[in-house]
Symmetry: C2
């Protein structure tokens, strides 16, 4: 399942990249359009989970650059945007006119929709035939570059359970949520190898390789 270190197969890695509370949640209970991170210990915006990104960007430049270096992304439906009667009207999701991906983004959904091209190189593709199809399309788009599964935890858990992840890039932040959407929920036991670990003031970044 893991890639050989010399990448002789010419494929990049499949990396999941997500911010979690120290008790493993990527969002709290009772998510709504106005409070997309639900009961997150704050206003529901996920601000406390992601303070490391927004309040201390210089400290965490390496992790942001690594994320941005991916050549294709996959995300769950809720990470694209809130449910608004699904696709009955134009809607660009959470990400504004110039999303921070600058690459193809494959959105896992049950509702078909035409691709949506944004400024800055991001195009959202809507994939209705499952996680393996989305990964196949993302790998094709990424060429020999990496594919990042950007969240949420529900999407990542599906990929982990299917044995399709090479590497976990976790950003662990100092709060607990107690309930909500939890990384590793329903995923069989994993043996991992710690590849890197780095502390910044508001977060600890940990990179694990999936061994089995």
């Amino acid at each position: 399942m893991t890639q050989p270190d010399d990448m002789t197969n010419g494929m990049g890695k499949v990396i999941c990249d997500i911010t979690i509370s120290i008790d493993g949640y990527s969002a709290g209970l009772d998510q709504t359009e106005e409070r997309p991170f639900g009961d997150d210990g704050g206003d529901g915006s996920g601000g406390m989970l992601h303070a490391w990104m927004f309040d201390t960007p210089e400290e965490n430049r390496a992790e942001a650059d690594q994320f941005a270096a991916a050549k294709a992304f996959i995300m769950g439906r809720n990470m694209f945007g809130p449910v608004r009667g699904e696709w009955d009207r134009p809607w660009n999701g959470w990400w504004g006119e110039d999303p921070p991906f600058h690459a193809p983004v494959f959105v896992l959904t049950h509702h078909a929709r035409d691709p949506q091209q944004m400024d800055g190189g991001t195009t959202f593709y809507f994939v209705t035939d499952g996680i393996a199809s989305a990964l196949s399309q993302a790998r094709e788009a990424a060429g020999d570059g990496d594919v990042v599964i950007a969240g949420g935890a529900t999407a990542i858990n599906q990929y982990l359970a299917a044995g399709l992840i090479d590497e976990l890039q976790l950003h662990i932040v100092p709060l607990t949520l107690g309930a909500g959407t939890r990384l590793f929920e329903g995923v069989p036991q994993l043996k991992l190898e710690q590849v890197r670990s780095r502390a910044a003031s508001l977060v600890t970044h940990v990179t694990y390789r999936v061994l089995s």
Copy 2:
């Protein structure tokens, strides 16, 4: 709840110190006397969880020294030893004749028993009247030193829920257990401050101060 930095009240800190899998478990399901860590991804001995201690002691000397510097310890019944018809015969628990605490250890239990003095300065005291009483006795014994709640997660969770912990010292290891005894289970949301974070080859050590 947290101690002032200058410790003007003359008391040490109450620190919980525990090793957890990246999904937050300190032990797997189905713990038995022969497999005290249950379904831990290995032989049930907790060997994979604690490989950082046993396989790479030099790398992790600072954390071992910090643990050993506590002037009193508290632990749950299962961390003292397996259930053997409770106290119907002499039994020193898991720890052998010279336990690694070298200080008073207060064991939370429902079964009264006389204190048990071991070699090397460790005496086990058995506390039947609850976590607050155990902490009070441990604080008294520790003087101005620190009290460490050494586990398991069930004992720590009781102290966290009661707002009695100043600091978390977590040793996060690269495996997932998927089920078992989970740190933070049933504990209300916590705001924490990352005080330190340090990576060794088999573990990431994170120290958090409990803010609320």
